[in-house]
């Protein structure tokens, strides 16, 4: 099993979720993060003082999936979240050693 971590632009969440549902993903977690990356660095003025906006709001999606689904998930997220503009985000894959479904105590792949 793998944990797919994707950071995307907030307004893309709904589209990505639908696309993932479309390919059979049945569960995921979403959280709000602030991203720092190439996209940052525009300046704003507040009460006459300039400042650099370092952090940009992003959405983090985390999905644990069986190994052979991972590529499809990554492709789906990447193609759906893409706008071609800077700050579209990243996808990372991390290995997962175990999984449990709390309700039933099912383990590993059965737990997803």
């Amino acid at each position: 099993m793998k944990l797919v971590i994707a950071v995307i632009k907030p307004f893309k969440l709904e589209e990505v979720r639908e696309a993932l549902t479309g390919i059979g993903v049945q569960g995921l977690m979403v959280s709000e993060v602030k991203g720092y990356g190439r996209q940052s660095g525009h300046t704003e003025i507040y009460r006459g003082a300039e400042y650099v906006v370092n952090f940009v709001p992003k959405i983090k999606i985390e999905i644990v999936a069986v190994d052979d689904q991972v590529d499809r998930i990554v492709e789906t997220i990447a193609s759906t979240a893409r706008t071609g503009k800077i700050g579209d985000g990243k996808i990372f894959v991390v290995n997962v050693e175990a999984a449990v479904r709390v309700r039933t105590d099912e383990r590993n792949e059965d737990a997803l």
Partner: protein
């Protein structure tokens, strides 16, 4: 007794007469009386201004309570406050007013008033001999009825079901409040007895507090509030809203107490209204400062929610007699109210009575204190009469409320399920959230 009859007002104002009696020298140099028509207009205007100020207290209660419940119950608290004010408006018209002010038409003399919807002056009408327009009086008195209901909603927040709460509100605003209030302001038996409650420390505030207490007992505390013998504080979700609510209530109280002079068509009356404004203000200030100082001393840190409660307790305390005290005495009365709150809040917790916003300490406890404190400045008041009023109204409201809550509990149930309570009433009963966005980044939809 002047001022206890919160409605009847002979032509040109009792107070002018009093002034003539009290200060002949002064009266002599006064130019001829204010013309009766002008008196009528002034009195009516006092009711209208007082009325809209008290109406705004509904917003104050809504904000105070929305700020002191958890996020997951905020939309419900707003819903209840909108609904209870609306119910009060309609019930007081349909039955409440005439139950409270039966004139000569008591069903049971001096105890249960008359039935029937309230009618007001015709278009272009108005009787100068009445001293004010019937509509303005109705408008003003209605607001006191609504206030009584507002008190209850705060205590029972975060666990009571919407509909039983609304049914209780129907009974409270249509029957319980009007009946007990008729005993005094409708010139019923308590008024005959010499009980004095200028603007309603007992009739409105304690009454609301007793109804809330009965509900809290029948309903039980929120899940997790008291566990393993410990009190588990459940902080309110939005303290600036609670602060705003308190300021709005403070503002509205000028209408509440000042309007209860019932007349401003004479020098004496408008001067009294001014005196009431001054005393009301300083009592609130004293309540807030005493709570501030006491929480610093007792807990080592100031507790804002107690300061807010303290200001309100100061206001409730002065409400039974906002006119007679000197400003200095008003400070004492309000300050004691503020202190009482600081002690009453943890005491209620000892009894495992869960009062979400502190309405019982503020309205019931300080209301009793304020009613007793009348004897400090009003020589017409006797301790005996005051205690009789406190006990009689307390017993009536508390017992009837207990019965109503019990009946509601055993019929439709008054409490949401455990799961719904944990989920929050907003999701469970309204299917919506007060602050639905997932933090500020929720630029998705």
């Amino acid at each position: 007794m002047r001022n206890t009859m919160k409605q009847f007002l002979p032509l040109a104002g009792a107070a002018s007469a009093l002034m003539l009696a009290a200060g002949p020298a002064l009266a002599q140099e006064a130019s001829p009386e204010v013309p009766a028509n002008s008196v009528y207009i002034f009195n009516t205007l006092l009711f209208l201004i007082g009325g809209f100020l008290v109406m705004f207290m509904a917003a104050g209660f809504a904000m105070l309570e929305a700020g002191l419940v958890r996020t997951k119950n905020v939309a419900m608290q707003c819903t209840k406050n909108m609904a209870l004010f609306s119910i009060a408006a309609i019930m007081f018209y349909l039955v409440g007013y005439n139950l409270m002010y039966p004139g000569e038409g008591w069903i049971i003399g001096d105890v249960i008033g008359a039935l029937g919807a309230k009618s007001i002056d015709e278009v272009g009408g108005g009787d100068v001999a009445a001293g004010y327009s019937a509509g303005s009086d109705f408008f003003f008195q209605l607001m006191f009825c609504a206030t009584t209901a507002s008190i209850v909603s705060g205590t029972l927040a975060e666990r009571i079901k919407l509909w039983p709460f609304l049914i209780f509100t129907v009974i409270l605003t249509g029957f319980i409040y009007p009946i007990e209030a008729s005993w005094e302001w409708g010139t019923g038996w308590l008024d005959d007895l010499g009980f004095a409650d200028f603007a309603g420390s007992t009739l409105v505030h304690s009454a609301g507090g007793w109804a809330a207490l009965a509900g809290a007992i029948i309903l039980g505390p929120r899940l997790g509030k008291y566990k393993d013998g410990r009190v588990n504080p459940i902080p309110g979700s939005n303290l600036p809203l609670a602060t705003l609510g308190t300021f709005i209530l403070w503002l509205g109280w000028f209408g509440f107490n000042g309007g209860s002079q019932l007349a401003m068509g004479s020098i004496g009356d408008v001067t009294d209204v001014s005196r009431i404004f001054v005393n009301t203000n300083v009592a609130a200030a004293a309540g807030a400062l005493v709570a501030l100082a006491l929480t610093q001393v007792l807990y080592g840190k100031v507790d804002l929610t107690m300061v807010l409660n303290g200001a309100l307790a100061g206001l409730v305390s002065i409400t039974a007699e906002p006119l007679a005290p000197t400003q200095f005495l008003a400070i004492i009365i309000g300050g004691v109210g503020g202190a009482l709150v600081v002690f009453a809040v943890p005491m209620l917790d000892k009894f495992k009575i869960d009062d979400v916003v502190g309405a019982i300490p503020v309205h019931l406890v300080a209301g009793i204190w304020g009613t007793i404190a009348v004897v400090l400045s009003n020589s017409d008041a006797t301790l005996m009469a005051q205690l009789t009023g406190i006990v009689a109204i307390g017993a009536f409201v508390f017992v009837v409320s207990l019965v109503v809550w019990s009946v509601l509990k055993s019929t439709m149930g008054i409490r949401v399920s455990q799961e719904e309570e944990m989920l929050g009433l907003d999701s469970a009963e309204l299917g919506m959230e007060a602050y639905p966005e997932f933090g500020k980044g929720s630029q998705f939809v």
